[in-house]
C-alpha cells in the first residue's frame, strides 16, 4: 500500500524497481528462512527425538511420497477430496438457489438446516459408516455431508439478499426467468457463495484426513496415523508437511478462482473506497 502511494506520479527508475523487488523478496522469504534455520539449529542441539531436523524430514518426504506411494495413497485421497468438493458445490449452489428463491421453502427448512450446520462434521463419520459401510462412496459422502452446509447456507443468504429493485427492474424489462437467474441472482450471490466455498474447502480437507484415519487401509490420513503408531517420526512429519502443502495448494487455487469470479465485485469495492 505505502510503496504504491510513494511511487505514484514519479517516473519509476530501473534501480527503484529492482530495489523494490529485492525488498519484497526479502520480506516474503525472510521469516520462513529464519524459522527453518531455527528449526535446524534446535534439532541439531537438542536430543528431543520427536523433532527431527528439516533435512531428515526432507529425506523422509522424498523416500515416502515420491514413487508408487504417491499413486497408491495420495492420488486416491486427492480424487476423493476433489469429488467431494465438486459434489458439495454443485448440490449446495443448486439447492441453495432454489431454497433462497422460494420464500416458504426457506422458512420451512431454515431451523433444520441450521441444526445440521451446527453439528461438528466429524461426528457424521460414524453415522455414514453405519449407513454405507467402509467404502469409497462412504468417504465421498462424509466429505459432502460436512462441506455442503457452509455452501448451501451462504448461497441461500446470498440469493435472498439480491437487490429487490434490480429484480423488479429486470422483471419490468421482461427478462426471462432463466436469464434473470444467470445474469442477476447468481452473480449477486457469488461473493457469499465464494465465502461458503472457502469454509467448505477446509472442512473437506479435515474430513478427508479423519475419515481415512478412522476407516481405511490406504490414503494420506491412514499413512500418517500408521507412521505415528509405529514411531516413524520423520515419516510422520513428512506426512504433516504434505498435508500442509495440500492445504496451501487448495488455498492458492481458490484464491486464483475467486479473483477471476469476483473481479467485478472487487472492482466495485475499489471504486467505492476511492
Amino acid at each position: 500500500m505505502t510503496t504504491q502511494a510513494t511511487t505514484v506520479g514519479r517516473p519509476s527508475r530501473a534501480r527503484g524497481v529492482l530495489h523494490r523487488i529485492t525488498a519484497s523478496f526479502l520480506f516474503a522469504t525472510g521469516l520462513p528462512v529464519i524459522l527453518v534455520a531455527a528449526w535446524a539449529a534446535y534439532s541439531t542441539y537438542s536430543a528431543n527425538r520427536f523433532f527431527p531436523g528439516p533435512l531428515t524430514v526432507l529425506d523422509a518426504f522424498v523416500d515416502t511420497w515420491v514413487g508408487p506411494a504417491f499413486l497408491e495413497d495420495v492420488v486416491p485421497s486427492l480424487l476423493r477430496l476433489a469429488g467431494g468438493i465438486l459434489v458439495s458445490i454443485v448440490v449446495g449452489v443448486v439447492a441453495g438457489t432454489v431454497i433462497g428463491l422460494v420464500h416458504w421453502l426457506r422458512d420451512l427448512t431454515e431451523p433444520v438446516l441450521e441444526f445440521f450446520r451446527a453439528i461438528p462434521p466429524p461426528v457424521l463419520i460414524p453415522i455414514v459408516m453405519l449407513l454405507l459401510g467402509i467404502t469409497d462412496t462412504m468417504k465421498l459422502v462424509v466429505i459432502v455431508s460436512g462441506a455442503i452446509w457452509p455452501i448451501l447456507l451462504n448461497t441461500i443468504e446470498g440469493v435472498r439478499s439480491t437487490d429487490s429493485v434490480m429484480i423488479e427492474t429486470a422483471r419490468a424489462f421482461g427478462i426471462t426467468r432463466a436469464e434473470r437467474l444467470w445474469f442477476l441472482v447468481l452473480p449477486a450471490a457469488s461473493p457469499r457463495i465464494m465465502t461458503g466455498v472457502r469454509q467448505a474447502l477446509s472442512v473437506a480437507l479435515i474430513l478427508m484426513v479423519i475419515s481415512e484415519m478412522f476407516a481405511s487401509s490406504s490414503g494420506l490420513g491412514y499413512r500418517i496415523a500408521y507412521f505415528q503408531r509405529n514411531y516413524l517420526i520423520a515419516q510422520m512429519w513428512s506426512g504433516v508437511l504434505l498435508l500442509g502443502l495440500i492445504g496451501v495448494f487448495l488455498a492458492t487455487v481458490f484464491g486464483i478462482v475467486e479473483r477471476r469470479v469476483l473481479r467485478w465485485y472487487h472492482g466495485i469495492k475499489e471504486v467505492d473506497r476511492g
Binding site: 520427536f50 416458504w104 431454515e110 431451523p111 451446527a118 461438528p120 478412522f214 507412521f227 506426512g239
Partner: protein, 266 residues
C-alpha cells in the same frame, strides 16, 4: 401499529413454517426405518433416540463427559484468542511486521489442524493437552487474521486526529484501535468458538481422551446405533447453543456499532 402487526404476522408465519419443517424432518426420519427403507439397526427410530437422549440427560456420567469436552473447548479457546489478540494487535499495528509475517501466515494458516494430531499424541499422549494443541492451532488463526484486518482498518482521519490531539499510546489503543477492531474481533471469536468445538470433539474421537467424542467412538465400536445418534444430536445442540450465545454476545458488545443499529431500525 400497522407496520408492527405485519412484522408480527411475518414472524408468526416464519415460526410456524420452521416448526412444521422440523416436525416434517422428524416424521420422515421416523418413517424411513418404520417402512423398512433402511434397517432400524442402521437408522434407529426417532422415538428410540429421543428416549435415549432423555436417559443420557439424567446420567451423571454423561454430564461429566460433556464437562470434559467443554473444559477442553473453553481452555483452548481462551489460550488461542488471548494469544491471537496480543500477537494480532502488534503485527497489525506495525507495517514492517505485517509484511514480514505475511507469507508465513499464509503458509501456516491452511494447514489442516488434524494433521497435527499424530504429533500431539506423541508429545502428550492420550490427555487433554494433546487435544488442546489441536484446538489452539485451529482457532488461533480465525481470531488472529480478523484482528490483523481489524487493527489495519483504522480510519486515517481518526488516527491523524488522535495524534494531533496528543493522545497517548494507551489512550489511542483504548479509544481508536479497540473500537475499530472490535467488530472484527467478535466475528473472529464466533468463528473460533465453532471451530474449537469441532476440534475438541474430533480430538476426542481420534485421540481417545475422555469426552463426548470418545463416547461417540465407543458407541460406534459397540454397534450401539441408538446411543450414537443420540450423541450426535447432543453435539448438534451444543454447536447451536454456542452459535446463539456468541451471536448474543456479539450483539451486546457491538450495540453501538452501525452494523447492529442498522438492523434494528429496519
Amino acid at each position: 401499529m400497522a407496520v408492527r402487526s405485519t412484522r408480527h404476522r411475518r414472524w408468526l408465519r416464519k415460526t410456524t413454517l420452521g416448526i412444521a419443517g422440523l416436525v416434517g424432518f422428524l416424521t420422515v426420519w421416523q418413517l424411513i426405518p418404520t417402512l423398512g427403507i433402511v434397517d432400524a439397526q442402521y437408522l434407529p427410530h426417532v422415538t428410540d433416540v429421543a428416549v435415549r437422549l432423555v436417559n443420557e440427560l439424567r446420567d451423571l456420567a454423561f454430564w461429566r463427559r460433556l464437562g470434559d469436552t467443554m473444559t477442553a473447548w473453553a481452555i483452548g479457546l481462551a489460550i488461542a484468542s488471548s494469544a491471537a489478540v496480543a500477537l494480532g494487535t502488534v503485527v497489525g499495528l506495525v507495517p514492517f511486521l505485517r509484511r514480514a509475517t505475511h507469507t508465513t501466515v499464509e503458509f501456516l494458516r491452511p494447514i489442516p489442524s488434524v494433521a497435527l494430531i499424530p504429533l500431539a499424541v506423541l508429545m502428550f499422549g492420550i490427555r487433554m493437552q494433546a487435544a488442546l494443541v489441536i484446538i489452539v492451532f485451529a482457532s488461533f488463526w480465525q481470531v488472529f487474521v480478523q484482528v490483523i484486518y481489524g487493527v489495519a482498518d483504522i480510519d486515517a482521519v481518526a488516527r491523524d486526529t488522535a495524534r494531533s490531539f496528543g493522545l497517548t499510546r494507551r489512550a489511542q489503543l483504548r479509544h481508536l484501535v479497540l473500537p475499530t477492531a472490535l467488530p472484527y474481533l467478535m466475528t473472529g471469536l464466533r468463528l473460533a468458538a465453532a471451530v474449537a468445538l469441532i476440534l475438541a470433539i474430533t480430538a476426542e474421537m481420534v485421540i481417545g481422551n475422555p469426552g463426548l467424542g470418545r463416547m461417540i467412538e465407543l458407541s460406534r465400536s459397540a454397534g450401539d446405533a441408538v446411543g450414537l445418534y443420540a450423541l450426535v444430536v447432543v453435539t448438534g445442540l451444543l454447536g447451536l447453543t454456542i452459535n446463539i450465545v456468541f451471536r448474543f454476545i456479539e450483539r451486546r458488545t457491538l450495540s453501538w456499532h452501525q452494523s447492529i443499529r442498522g438492523e434494528e431500525v429496519l
